[in-house]
Structure formats: C-alpha cells, structure tokens
Amino acid sequence: MGDAIVNVSAWIEGLLLGTGLSEPWVSFIMTVISAFVIAFIPVVIVIFLVWGYRKASARMQGRLGPNSSGTWAGPGGIVQTFADAIKMLTKEDIRPAGVDVIPYNIAPILIFFIALVVWAVIPFGPGTVIGVDLNIGIFYIMAFSSAALFGVLMAGWSSNNKYATVSAFRSVALLISYEIPQLLSVLVVVMVAGSMSMQDIVGAQRSVMYLIALPLPAVIFLIASLAEVNARPFELLEAESELVAGYQTEYSGMKFGMYYLAEFINSVAVGAIFSTLFLGGWQGPFVDAAPILGTVWIFAKITLMTMLWMFIQITLPRLRIDQILNFNWKFLVPLALANLCVISIVNKLINAQASDWTRAGILLLTNIAIALVAWTLVALGGRQKRRQYEAELEVVA
C-alpha cells in the first residue's frame, strides 16, 4: 500500500515503540497526535483562506486588497494574515460593563470548539486516515452543529446590549429554520447510501457521485448550509446597517477573532461535508493505484467548494429576515419534504439488481420531475399574486 499518511504514522509508531513505551501508551499517544493533526488542518487552511478571501473580494469588487503591508508584505501580501493574527492576540480585551461574565467568556470558546469538532469524522482518504469513521458520522456532525446555537444565544444574551440580543434571536431563528431542509436532504443521502458513516457514503458514490443522482438534495443542502454559516445572501447576524455587528458587537481582541475564525472554519467545513456527501469525497481517478491521491482529490474538492462559497459571499446582496424565512418555510422545506417522500418510494421501486448508472439515471429523472412541478407551482403562485396586486392597483386608481 503506497499510502503516505499510513506510512508516516507507522514510522512515528515505530519510533515511539523504539523508546520502550508499552503498547497501549503508544496507541494513546498516536491518538493524541492524530487529534492534533486533524484539529490543525482547519486552522492552517483558514490562515490562507483569510488571505485568499481578501484577495478575491478585492479583485471581484474592484478595489485594492492586502497587496502592500508596508515593507514586509511578502508575496501577494501574505504577511498581512500573520500580522492580523498577532494583532488579534495582542489586542486589549475590553469587557463591557454589566455583562454576564461566565456565559460571555464561554461563548466564543464554545463556538470555536464546535467549529473544530465536526472535522473529526471527515474522511481525508481511503481507509481510516487520521480521523475516525463513526457509524453515526453525518448525524454526529448535525448534532454538534446544532449545539452551536447556544454559543450564539449565550453571546447575545450575556452581552448586555440590545443589538446583540436582537441579532442572537434573529440568527437563531435563521439557524434553526435552515437546519430542517439540511436535515431532510441529508436523510435522502443516508437513505440512498444505506449508511450514516461518512466513509460508507463516499464508498457508495464509487461509480456515480450523488451530485448527479440527487441534484435537488444537493442544491437544497448547499443553500441551507450557506445559510447555516451566514454566507452573504443569508447574512443576518452581521447586518452592519441594522445590527452594528451582530451578536459579537461587544467582543474585542482575541474573543472577536475566534468568532471570525470560527465563521471561516465553518465555511470550509461546509465545503468538506458537501464534497463528502455529494461530490464523492476522496473518490477520483487513479485513487486505487495511489491512495494518497484520495487526499489530494478531497482537498481539491474542498478548495472548489470554498471558491464557490467565496464567489457567492462576495457578489450577492443581503436579504431581509422575512424574505429569508419565507424562502425557507414556504419553498425549501416543502420541496425537501416532497423530495424525501418521492425519492424514498421511487428508489425502492427500482430493481435491486439495477446498475449504479441506471439507478442514478432514474433518480435524476425523478429529481428533474420534482423540480419541474415545484417550478410550475411557484410560477402559478407568483402569477396569482401578481394578478391580485394588479387588481388592487386598479381599485386604488
């Protein structure tokens, strides 16, 4: 097996065994090392992502980015990120008067903690590479990310600031609303793959990736996840014109920095989860010959998804809260429910011996049919509403 990561870990394990430590201790130390490696993957990605995000947004919005940080700019202004990190760390941390001290201090830690926690079950390659393959994989991610709501509520409520509290309420309303379509589209994937383990879901996409077989759940999941990470069209919590800076208004220094980092880490995590669920994870050409390529593929897919996120985030304007919630409850949730019901019956009716491509084709056609029906309904509803509106106008005139 030519897997570099397995080789490296075997080499470290041999090194540790050579020092005369007993077997259980060595395996424990290996666990700790791999936990640190996994925890640092998102942190390292984010350091470069912040830089890349600034460059991209400057380019797209036609303004100057971090292209000169004094004398020490480095190539493309990369030093700027490190300078920012040091600035965050050494900034004075101001605690406003009248805050509820303990929740106020726990909230940023909790949010950052949960942003890192979901990375444990993401498969970075064939076999169990570094992380772990839980049999409840995707449900573990959903469970922990729903626990992140408290970070938001704690921060908003304990800040002793009206804007922060309103923002916390709004963003929790948004987060819980968009969790439903996310959940329902994950259910479709679990159903078709027959497993909740991330590694099995990747394995099930061996010949066809689910983006082709299940495009509708993929799109619903992507929209809902973008809402969950507060990407721009759904960016309620940082509505500067209305809410100052959201629930983290009263935070400063590193505590603010942790919210900032957690948001970026979550966005990358969405890319990783989406690639695993719908883009076939580490599957790709030549993976069987060289397993290390699997790691390359998944990171390539994560990069692609992150670029898509950046593109959406930078170019789209912000919606109002009523538009966001209406879109969710009156369009996404009914669509996801109908999709789940129809796919579950259709997929059962397909012959069990059918090849992967036949199955994918039938599912794709079903998806297109559902999308067309939904489109027709929305168009009819819109026409009706427009007629009503025009009739009202005539009455006024």
Partner: protein, 118 residues
C-alpha cells in the same frame, strides 16, 4: 466501537484545549488598561438606554416550535433511512405517512398565517 469514541473523546479534549489556549494566550499577551469609559456598551453612538432584556416577539417561539417538531422527527427518520435497504416497500410507505403527517402540521401553521414575519 468504544475505541472510536476514545478518539472522539481525545479529539474533544484537544479542540477544547486549543480553543482555551487561544483565549489564554491573548490573556497573557494583551495589555490590560481598564477604563470605565472603555467598558461602556456600544449602542450606535448613543447613551445605552434601558435594559437589553426586554420582551421579544412570540414569533420567534413559533418558529422554534415548528423546528422542534421536525427535529424530533429526525430521531425516527434517521434509523428509518439507515434501515431503508432492509425494509420492504410498505414499510417505506409507513415512513412516508409519518412525514406526511408532519407536513400536515406545516400546512396548518402556514394556512393560519403564522409563518408570516410580522
């Protein structure tokens, strides 16, 4: 199975350590010059006015209620979806019936106009 959760446990501790270490590091490095005027609440350049713990709209609560119902539904639907390949068609339809009952609730709330943001 418990070996897998050993990793998860260690990972939770490591991430908790990293999160706390970041705050701790800044606590060591940062300057500490408190000033009563620095610690005033920021409210759009005005003097803070009244307590922030005012009463909110019950609208938020209604969204949370609908969410709660769908969330609990997941407890039943995840095992159902996982066992999907092992169960016959009529059992799948039972699950669909379960979902449709919840859809009825959604439609009721929608028709009553409670999903409108007021």
């Amino acid at each position: 199975m418990l070996e897998q959760f050993t990793f998860i446990g260690v990972f939770l501790l490591v991430t908790l350590f990293i999160s706390c270490a970041m705050v701790g590091l800044s606590w060591v490095l940062r300057p500490k010059r408190p000033d009563p005027r620095k610690s005033e609440i920021y409210e759009c350049g005005l003097e803070p006015h009244g307590t922030p713990w005012f009463q909110f709209k019950a609208q938020y609560y209604i969204f949370a209620l609908v969410f709660l119902v769908f969330d609990v539904e997941a407890v039943f639907l995840f095992p159902w979806a996982k066992a999907y390949s092992l169960i016959p068609l009529y059992a799948v339809i039972e699950g669909v019936l379960f979902i449709l009952l919840l859809a009825v609730a959604l439609i009721y709330v929608w028709r009553k106009g409670l999903l409108e943001w007021m």
